[in-house]
Amino acid sequence: MATVLQFLSTYGNELLLKTWEHLLISIIASLLGILVAVPLGIALTRFPKGAGTVMGTLGIIQTFPSFAILAFFIPIVGVGKIPAIIALFFYSVLPILRNTYIGVTGVKRSLLEAGRGMGMTGWERIRYVEVPLAIPVIMAGIRLSTVYLIGWATLAAYIGAGGLGDYIFSGLNLFQAKFIIAGAVPVTILALLTDLLLGRIETWVTPKGMRKMKEAA
């Protein structure tokens, strides 16, 4: 306990800074992922033939080792936070995209027909029917992806992006277990808290009618 307190008094401020950096990298990458993947996922549902190809390609990219992706961006955008965010963004896209696609295609055909028969335009159907009904599935994708990103952002330290990964790499290089722990524990806590928060948001954005329906079932 005393060692923990001693560590915190020496590195406390720095730890907070690194945590903040870490969170920032993950959140920005995740937000970019949402901005791209949700509209793209919806767009893909309009072209079911192209959807398979796009998902397949992204699936393959996803299997590339994270280190390789991070290294790959160094010659293009250099080192630092930006390349890390770009790489992480690529990782965040697939889960969100896939869930958006599944969520939207999972909306009952009869509801879409009702909407079309009532005279909704394509955009109105997306806004009033498809997105509200797919929200729980889309949110599950966002949650998953963000929590993963917080884990993966640790590796970003390797290309100079900072964050809690710095501690872990220093710990590994210096054979100092306390640095590894100082990096790993906050990452875990961060991931858990984010998951909790996004869970709340998920409930909050799910239309009330669907929440009640789930409770009743």
Binding site: A114, G117, M118, M120, V129, L133, P207, G209, M210, M213
Partner: protein, 385 residues
Amino acid sequence: MLKFEHVSKVYKGGKRAVSDLSLEFEKGEFICFIGPSGCGKTTTMKMINRLIEPSEGSIYINGVDVLKKDPVQLRREIGYVIQQIGLFPHMTIYENISLVLKLLKWPEEKRRARAKELLTLVDMTADYLGKYPHELSGGQQQRVGVLRALAADQPLILMDEPFGALDPITRDSLQEEFKKLQKKLNKTIVFVTHDMDEALKLGDRIVIMRDGQLVQCDTPDDILRNPADEFVEEFIGKDRLVQARPNIQTVEQIMNPHPVTITGDRSLSEAIQLMKQHRVDSLLVVDEQNLLKGYIDVEIIDQKRKKASLVKDVLESEFTVEKDTLVRDTIRKILKKGMKYVPVVDHDQHLVGIVTRASLVDIVYDSIWGEEQQGEMTWLQSYNF
């Protein structure tokens, strides 16, 4: 109002779903499209609001070619009810009913007022506005589904087997309710079904289709009396054809025009005396204008005589038929619901007579020993007396 001119639908690969259909309907007509599955009835209906585009020919609504209109605009002017009900689970009843109005950019207060007004049409209270579809029974959900199609006061409504997913009893009452509503609002309805009973009951005219072609388009009575060919005969079914003959009459012709009645301000002891005097076990309760209020019977008097003294305090409302209802529909109801009698009313709920089981005996007697002696026995059997 609605006119098909040489309309065909040919799918890629040359399959003709509908070929060369020409039909014309008046405003306020209830049109049933019927036929075996794959006969093109649903395709025909969906071509009206262009959910399916016709390949050849034109469809006119009030003289305007639907193909020349913007499909989205067109669909907002036509009500649409689907079999799966299709209420949006994430929207309240209010939001569901007023969705078309929202698309039409009506202001919020007007939408809410309209939704309330619509609910009264199907005897639902404003409490339902804030509920969600899953909190309603199947019958209520489809009532809301129908209201949604009526919201913008569309003159034409398309219905794709709307009562198909409901249980028989709910379906029966919804059919009646809806037919009344249609007459009251004078809507033109295009109704797709595969249930002949439903078509005979609801349709002003029935369009029978097979393999994308029109086989017959006539009133229910004409179809029953003069089926166009063997296919129609088979489709209607022998039972109904046999029934059809003695059934082309209304309840007015067979009812007893002098039911025993009492007014609401009489006492229960007067009521029981009246029953004794006429040797009956129930009385129809009417007011001074002969408006039917309900009924009382011996059991009700026996249960409630200690708590109440006037007839109007204990009367119960009951099921009625209008005087121009066909006998076949009435008989079915009496037998299916196991009722002893049905009061007959005119369009304003004035009592005009009563059909009892004794009236049925008269019909059966007539059909056995009346003009036609043969054949009618089958009719008798089919009701399993």
